[in-house]
Symmetry: C2
Subunit: 366 residues, 2 copies
């Protein structure tokens, strides 16, 4: 039906639209704005699906990605990445054309940009609430005040609020843990908001990772949700408990190139350059890189017997096949494989092939 | 000097040329033809450097990559991947224009191609000598004979020989182990050659992985060497013992976006979408994704104190910095980082930036 001859990223439109709809409803229920992170889909075509659910503001992970979406018509963009001052000319260009929100965590970056930017830029302060990847420690009020003082000394900067990423949630496996993390983060963020609201009454709190936004029934107290991965989900989110296998909306279609029934293995054309090398530890104890689903005409199903991608070379993948799959698979067949990390997989692929026959381009960052 | 503002793949031309020269000499000493695997560099520009060392035949990992090199003028190409029959039309096109060598491991694939191909194609049988990824078990003479019989029944096929990949060498750490693996492989291959030379006097033995080809003083007894990674090497090869740190010829230049001296960490713009997620276990017990080198004007140096990439997000990298590096690094600086797996890193990047100022395009597979 789809005439697939090389590894191809399939997209189930129905699953994807359902994921977007559910998250849009949760944001509404939480009284927060949904500002989805588009680093997952990296696609104007998929981003357009968000518009029909009332989304008008988005998040991206690089200034160049911001330019791609700005050129495509999006006009309110947060670059959720500690600002790269070496791209000041691009910041200047973007600030001329869209409502641009950047992240800072040092006075040095702000001073440099303050000297090089001449158009309005909104600034979030990145707050670290224990994840320790980036950001100012939430207790370090002195540093936050120093950043705000620097910010106030340049007339093109507008303080937008506090932004945090609870990356801890990628290590959890229950809603209780998500709730615990959210409670701690909300307490820290609310304290900051109360402390600085006098001088900045419009400041907002920006939160959002897919596990929290999926596993919590609602997220009251923050102003916007920046989750992104939920648009497709993946095996990592499934293992965390943030989605069901049935919610995963992308799969890599891989041509079968060799069969090894003596060890229940199928060799497919589909490797690290298509899936990325992100891996998971299966509850059964083995590492894996994907899971086989059964392609139907306009969707796919989770087979009763599990078959998984046990290893990935540059272009090959080795599938550990169930007896069922081994028995029915022939060289030249196409197998569909759910990815471990859909953001990284989409980044490697040129387009989405929807099951209803549309090709939707992915940003060509090269 | 180089005006770098985003993650950029640096190439040290001198190191690269030295790596090529050494491998060309080893092939000569071994009495074998060097047929380098170009999946590492994926670049006509870098491939051209091989020509000056007498290389006229190459290896690639997909039919589409074969087309890229065929379009660029290479005329003798082995696709070292179990043939994907769904791309028969592309095989037909390639076979019209170049000397094309494909790999088979089943009669099914051959029969399909035999019915669909009308131009000469050379065929290797992929032999499995214990690595168990792909190939016909070397003891399975019945299957080999069946493939040869099928092959002989189509006039456009020419049997080229036996090809094997000793992927085991990626688990070794000494030349003795490489020697042991080579001895076993050579014994199995030679037995096959002796057995089938009567009917196929021109059959050749194709061998080659970078650890073997680097760690063995010579590889007598095989006819061609297909190693590829050696052109750049990387931290994986260094940890195996296949190269010195000083031999690694590529590094990712990453802008510094944040500093966290309280935990000796530097945040750089440079993540999984630039490096890939391949990781190594450091002898000291931690996982790592890269190692910082000191950029000089026209080369780089290995600093006395080690700093390494401790984690990679989609676009961020977190460097665990030595006291020296931490003390001297500022936001907006560029740090150069040796990659764990240069093939996967090159696959993600648009071009090589040589330290002497040239941009060399990488194949845009999208």
């Amino acid at each position: 039906m789809l005439n697939i001859t090389i590894p191809t990223l399939l997209l189930d439109r129905k699953r994807c639209l359902r994921n977007i709809e559910k998250m849009a409803e949760k944001a509404k229920l939480s009284g927060a704005q949904l500002r989805p992170h588009l680093k997952t889909s990296q696609s104007l075509g998929v981003a357009a699906w968000f518009e029909s659910f009332g989304v008008s503001a988005v998040t991206v992970s690089s200034l160049r990605m911001a330019k791609y979406f700005a050129d495509g018509g999006w006009s309110d963009i947060t670059v959720a990445f500690p600002v790269n001052i070496l791209e000041a000319p691009l910041i200047e260009t973007l600030a001329t054309n869209v409502r641009l929100n950047i992240l800072v965590e040092s006075t040095e970056s702000l001073i440099y940009l303050g000297e090089h930017i001449h158009n309005p830029v909104n600034v979030f302060i990145k707050i670290d609430i224990g994840y320790h990847r980036t950001g100012v420690a939430y207790q370090d009020v002195t540093k936050i005040e120093a950043i705000l003082d620097t910010l106030a000394s340049y007339r093109f900067f507008q303080f937008k609020g506090f932004l945090t990423h609870a990356g801890h949630t990628y290590k959890i496996t229950s809603a209780e843990e998500a709730q615990h993390i959210y409670k701690n983060h909300l307490a820290a963020l609310t304290q900051l908001k109360n402390q600085f609201a006098k001088n900045y009454p419009d400041l907002i709190l920006s939160y959002g990772d897919t596990p929290s936004c999926s596993m919590l029934e609602k997220l009251e107290g923050v102003d916007e949700l920046r989750a992104g991965n939920f648009v497709f989900y993946d095996l990592m989110q499934y293992q965390i408990g943030a989605c069901r296998l049935e919610d995963i909306a992308v799969a890599v279609a891989c041509p079968v190139v060799a069969l090894h029934p003596e060890r229940s293995e199928i060799v497919v054309y589909g490797g690290g350059v298509h899936f990325s090398k992100d891996q998971l530890l299966h509850p059964n104890g083995h590492v894996y890189y994907g899971r086989v689903v059964t392609l139907d005409n306009d969707t796919w199903h989770i087979p009763a017997q599990e078959s998984y991608m046990k290893s990935l070379s540059q272009e090959h993948g080795i599938i550990k096949a169930s007896p069922d799959l081994m028995a029915k698979t022939k060289v030249g067949d196409i197998l569909a494989v759910l990815p471990v990390h859909s953001c990284m997989t989409a980044d490697l692929m040129p387009y989405y092939q929807t099951l209803d026959g549309e090709r939707i381009d992915i940003w060509d960052k090269k």
